[in-house]
């Protein structure tokens, strides 16, 4: 329904504006708070204009860290989070695209059984299988390591399903033409399937990166060393102090920093992301 009345656009704009304000205001507050010093925030009258401490706060957050709680600078946490999120996103895509390739293009015994097994794990989030997973990771000596952070999270039923649906729309003549053109399964995968899946991969990457970035419970469980903490845990620890004032300016700076990479990913990949979700180009 598209209307072109003169004031017809006014109301929708108003509604959107209110929506944006509600969503954006807390973010704005976080940014403002990260530019003041501790005393300004602690006196209970939070200003709405930027303060003068931005450089000091961010410098301290990234490089020095809060000595009391996290005992590690946020710069390192950012790096940890980045490695974990990238690892999870890349791993999930790699594994699920290969699984979907096998399920769709090969005929082997128990193919549907394999597919349904994968599908059923869709209903098993990490929280449900957390104890056995922890046991395995600890037995493999992967606590406090990037491998331990990434590996248990990289199997993805959702992504497998998505790739499967996409692969099933590829005409079978294309597979046959490849066969006649002398491309074996791997070459077909590399030369035809991957290029056709680029937009799907991009869309999934955005979703999975944010999923990985926001992981809380799993990293909390298996990281004990300060230098292995992720930023999401860092925020929690900075806020959670005993016998002292919470350093809100540092917490807010950390929150802002934690927001940036996902935002950057969405902004830069938005075009591909939308294309991947809505377009099927054949």
């Amino acid at each position: 329904m598209v209307e072109h009345r003169r004031f017809g656009n006014l109301l929708p704009h108003l509604v959107l504006l209110v929506g944006v304000l509600i969503v954006a205001f807390p973010v704005y507050m976080a940014i403002i708070a990260s530019t003041h010093d501790q005393a300004v925030i602690a006196n209970g009258q939070m200003p709405l204009t930027p303060g003068s401490q931005a450089y000091e706060n961010y410098y301290r957050t990234i490089v020095a860290g809060t000595t009391k709680t996290t005992r590690a600078p946020v710069g390192g946490m950012l790096l940890n989070s980045l490695i974990m999120a990238l690892g999870i996103a890349a791993g999930k895509i790699a594994i699920s695209i290969i699984s979907a390739f096998a399920i769709v293009f090969f005929a082997f015994p128990f193919r549907m059984a394999a597919f349904w097994t994968i599908f059923i794990t869709l209903m098993l989030p990490i929280e449900v299988r957390i104890y056995p997973t922890y046991k395995i990771v600890s037995d493999l000596n992967m606590l406090d390591s990037y491998a331990g952070l990434i590996l248990p999270l990289i199997a993805s039923a959702t992504a497998t399903l998505l790739f499967r649906q996409f692969f099933m729309t590829i005409p079978k003549e294309l597979v046959e033409a490849s066969k006649i053109d002398g491309a074996g399964p791997l070459r077909f995968f590399k030369d035809t399937l991957l290029p056709l899946s680029v937009t799907n991969i991009a869309a999934l990457f955005v979703i999975l990166f944010i999923f990985g970035w926001n992981q809380y419970l799993w990293p909390l469980l298996i990281t004990t060393r300060d230098d292995m903490q992720t930023i999401v845990i860092g925020i929690k620890k900075i806020i959670d102090v005993h016998d002292a004032l919470t350093e809100w300016q540092i917490a807010m700076a950390t929150a802002v920093l934690a927001m940036l990479p996902p935002v950057a990913i969405v902004v830069f990949m938005q075009r591909l992301f939308v294309k991947g979700l809505i377009e099927t180009e054949k």
Partner: protein
């Protein structure tokens, strides 16, 4: 360059369904063989078995000197053109054509010459950098052809390549395919359900029905001497008319309605008293107004035609009606007069009548 030989080829699917029930024919080197039949007759399955996309349940397929039953598609030295073109959507026209050569490790310089040569033949030169989605249907079809010819295979396999094109383009591409095949001299097998396409393209026509071969021959042979009622009804447009009859005496048929019809006993040897189907091509039949001047005595026994509908085609017309209970169509040429009145008989040369066994449908 090679001939293609099929020997008693069968396809039985896992469920027990027999799609191809023992087909044997030979396509000579450089020949153009068309498999034609209604959908589900096994023609595509047969072609896909030659291509190596379906396994052969029984029998043997040879391309040239080699038995290819167990070979992978790429080892069979064939190229295939698909109905939906099956171009790689992310590759340029050049890459689409070059892909098969690249996979075979052909040197870059040679790929370039071969693709450019194919592009020149197919007039695709200006389109080499385009993607398939930027091309029209006819151009895509050409690219699919180009992909086949750059490889210089032993045989071309066409799977209804013109079905996705509009009628005008189809005629044009049909002519181009035939010219191209002639000039390249590559053995070809072509699958279609369109009898006109089959007639115009084939050196050798294989008419299939229900997984069996009904008849093999040149287009003209098949048209003039159809082996069964199926072939007679399938080849030719509008299709042949069939009238149930019995042989009264050599050279004379008695139709169901009591009318009689003369046939040439030299053409069809049917025993006296046999139940037959008389096949009359619509274009060999003339309509005569009954009870008009010029009437002779025998006319009273000629089959009466009750006209139901007349379709004007511009280059003639189709007269649809009934002779006793059987539907009957007459194709009139542009010079013939549109039938006026209500009472008609048909006249047909005795030589133009085909006789088939009423029970088996086989030609007598």
């Amino acid at each position: 360059m090679a001939d293609v030989v099929l020997k008693d080829v069968r396809k039985i699917y896992v469920g027990g369904f027999e799609a191809v029930k023992g087909v044997s024919f030979t396509v000579p080197d450089g020949g153009f063989c068309v498999l034609v039949g209604p959908s589900g007759c096994g023609k595509s399955t047969l072609l896909r078995m030659v291509a190596g996309l379906e396994t052969v349940s029984d029998g043997e397929i040879r391309i040239g000197e080699r038995r290819v039953n167990e070979l992978e598609p790429m080892e069979r030295d064939i190229a295939m053109v698909f109905q939906n073109y099956a171009l790689y959507p992310h590759m340029s026209v050049f890459d689409n054509m070059a892909y098969g050569l690249k996979n075979r490790g052909t040197p870059k310089a040679e790929i370039e010459t071969r693709v450019n040569e194919a592009a020149r033949i197919l007039e695709l030169g200006a389109l080499l950098t385009r993607k398939p989605r930027q091309l029209s249907g006819g151009q895509r079809q050409r690219v699919a052809m180009g992909r086949a010819i750059v490889r210089k295979p032993a045989a071309f396999l066409f799977d209804e390549p013109l079905s996705n094109l509009d009628a005008k383009l189809r005629v044009q591409m049909r002519i181009e395919i035939r010219k191209l095949q002639r000039s390249l001299g590559t053995t070809s097998i072509y699958v279609t359900h369109d009898q006109l396409e089959a007639m115009t393209l084939a050196d050798r026509l294989v008419v299939m029905n229900g997984g069996r071969m009904e008849q093999v021959g040149t287009a003209l042979e098949v048209f003039e001497k159809p082996a069964t009622t199926f072939v007679a009804g399938f080849i030719g447009s509008p299709p042949m008319n069939f009238l149930p009859a019995s042989v009264e005496a050599p050279g004379r048929l008695r139709l169901a309605g009591g009318a009689s019809l003369a046939y040439d006993p030299a053409v069809s040897g049917a025993p006296e008293g046999a139940k037959v189907l008389a096949g009359l091509r619509p274009e060999t039949v003339a309509i005569v107004a009954a009870g008009q001047q010029g009437q002779n005595q025998s006319q009273s026994t000629w089959p009466r035609l009750k006209i139901e509908l007349i379709e004007e085609l511009g280059m003639g017309r189709l007269v649809h009606g009934r002779i006793s209970e059987s539907a009957f169509t007459v194709a009139q040429g542009p010079s013939e007069a549109r039938p006026q009145g209500a009472d008609f008989v048909i006249e047909v040369a005795p030589r133009a009548i085909h006789l088939f066994d009423a029970a088996s449908g086989a030609r007598l």
